[in-house]
Symmetry: C2
Subunit: 347 residues, 2 copies
């Protein structure tokens, strides 16, 4: 890490970019001053936006490029032809050592492909995983993989468990985080072959993991464990199902609270409380999916978010860097496999 933490930002990624990106950087600076930003994107658009926020202006440097990866672009094509895109240049800055991590709200597939290609994997890890925190009855739970790998074998799941455990320990500050495998039932007999095999490995191994066993879909919100491990297909559907249900709930609630005069007056009286409630379930608060397993910090913001949401993705990247997440993952894998680089070379 350079002396002063530096983040490279894909300023052109996201539905409301670059405006919401610059606003997000401003809001993140308000919470954590002292961070430097490299903003990759169209200088003509960025300059007047940055000028509106003196804190952003003094903390950041614009790196001009007019190339952008669109949301529709296939990952493979973006990888071939997006070499001068804001996304690619922002990732390159991490690889060059100019930045300690990168944040983008652009095309997820392209970001993952480019980050894998440029940053490479940490030694001993076969595949990256997308991870994010969910609000729970207890506090929060980190879940991975949320969509990087549609099909996962037992070994992938075990590696996700190790990375999730490191995240829980070093970033969330949980002393001995419990790790559960997402399944359709708590009994040993249930589930597909990958989760059954992974459970066997996690139970028998001498990995430094407090393995809880299987958890079910409702355990995510219950907060039964600190870390939930699943394949990217199931994880992505669980994430989006939870988001959809929360939206449905919110929309039904709003309808009810405007359905009569009494309800409306009641809602006005309860407004501060309802706002606190809204804040607690606000998906923007949980914005910022981490690509774990890469040799570099890379955070993906939701494409449709606003400045507040983007600022949270920036803060996630800062947390990962401040807690040296990749150093910890590297150490854990080295301890398990012997010298990490040898393992990587042998694969």
């Amino acid at each position: 890490m350079s002396e002063r933490m530096t983040l490279s930002i894909d300023a052109m990624g996201g539905d409301n970019a670059p405006h919401m990106v610059v606003e997000g950087v401003h809001l993140a600076l308000k919470k954590k001053p002292g961070v430097r930003f490299l903003l990759f994107g169209d200088e003509e658009q960025l300059k007047p936006l940055v000028a509106r926020f003196p804190d952003v202006e003094s903390a950041s440097e614009i790196r001009h490029t007019s190339d952008v990866v669109t949301n529709e672009e296939k990952a493979a094509k973006a990888l071939r032809s997006g070499r001068n895109s804001s996304m690619r240049l922002a990732i390159n800055a991490v690889h060059n050592g100019e930045a300690d991590g990168v944040v983008s709200a652009g095309n997820t597939g392209a970001l993952m492909a480019m980050a894998k290609f440029v940053l490479k994997m940490l030694p001993g890890i076969a595949r990256p995983a997308i991870a994010t925190c969910f609000p729970t009855m207890r506090s929060q739970t980190v879940m991975l993989d949320l969509g990087a790998n549609v099909e996962c074998d037992a070994e992938n799941l075990v590696q996700f468990a190790v990375m999730g455990e490191v995240f829980g320990r070093s970033v969330l500050g949980i002393k001995n985080p419990s790790v559960g495998l997402l399944n359709v039932g708590a009994e040993d007999l249930k589930g597909n072959s990958s989760v059954k095999e992974a459970a066997g490995i996690l139970q028998d191994s001498d990995l430094p993991i407090s393995f809880y066993g299987f958890v079910e879909g409702d355990d995510i919100a219950k907060g039964t464990v600190d870390v939930i491990v699943t394949d990217g297909f199931t994880g992505n559907i669980a994430l989006k199902t939870a988001e959809g249900t929360a939206k449905l709930f919110g929309s039904f609630l709003k309808e009810s609270l405007t359905s009569s005069v009494f309800a409306t007056i009641g809602a006005i009286l309860a407004k501060p409380a309802l706002n606190k409630f809204k804040m607690r379930m606000d998906p923007r608060k949980y914005n910022g999916a981490m690509f774990l397993g890469l040799n570099g910090v890379c955070v993906k913001s939701h494409g449709g978010t606003d400045g507040f949401g983007f600022s949270n993705a920036v803060l996630v990247a800062e947390e990962l860097i401040a807690n040296a997440i990749n150093q910890s993952i590297r150490e854990d894998f080295t301890r398990v496999h012997g010298d990490g680089d040898d393992v990587a070379a042998a694969e």
Copy 2:
């Protein structure tokens, strides 16, 4: 179907059985009088309960057995040793033609194993699927499979699509129900091999299905399509994730509305509206998972539900019977495969 619709009830299944079962039958009779009930279970416990509800007493017949399948019992063991259980005898009544359908709040795995063994599959269908309706922004969506089959191939998914479409048409009364395949992205390239292959079959075939394409987790609550098809692993996790999220939302809301005097007064004023909202999201309203594909109507109630929840499971069974769901599925499969029995025999 016998002249008067008859349902056989596993009166001993569920955490609060037999009390909640008898109350559920009473509540179902209030909504739909004229149905007959065969109550399988311990006569000594059932008699005084039934005596409390004159409508239940006159509409039902107690069939005594002291055997019960417990929640902990493995399906295979229940199948071997539960031949005199309330669950098994209730299923037998459908096979014998004494009843038009069965409802149980007991052990799901045992119920599925017994129902498959006793009732057998409909011709042309390889595996049964568990289906239930979800509340959506538009109205409701039926999703299947929710846990009967942990691993599904493309052909299974296609059969689920046909059954779901029939359900949408004949029970929900939707003219041309749209069917979507649950996936991690809407693009053709995404997803595991089963969903990709199933999409290919559904797109190219001359099945009488309005195939929408892929849908994602948040499309469940959006109500993007009328029928969502998925494998039992993903479906079970999506169902329980949605349930867990709704509970979390409800609990956060309750906390907020009791967090200050103003909030509490507001909540009192808005109470009728909040109750309507609660009712709209009430999981008991959506209680009653259908086992589709069996040669007989079988509905599984949530084990932890109360009388109101159980009454809804009873009403689901009545709807399936009244709309001759299995006759429609049989006709659809015969039309597609030629004579259905030949297909079944060939498998």
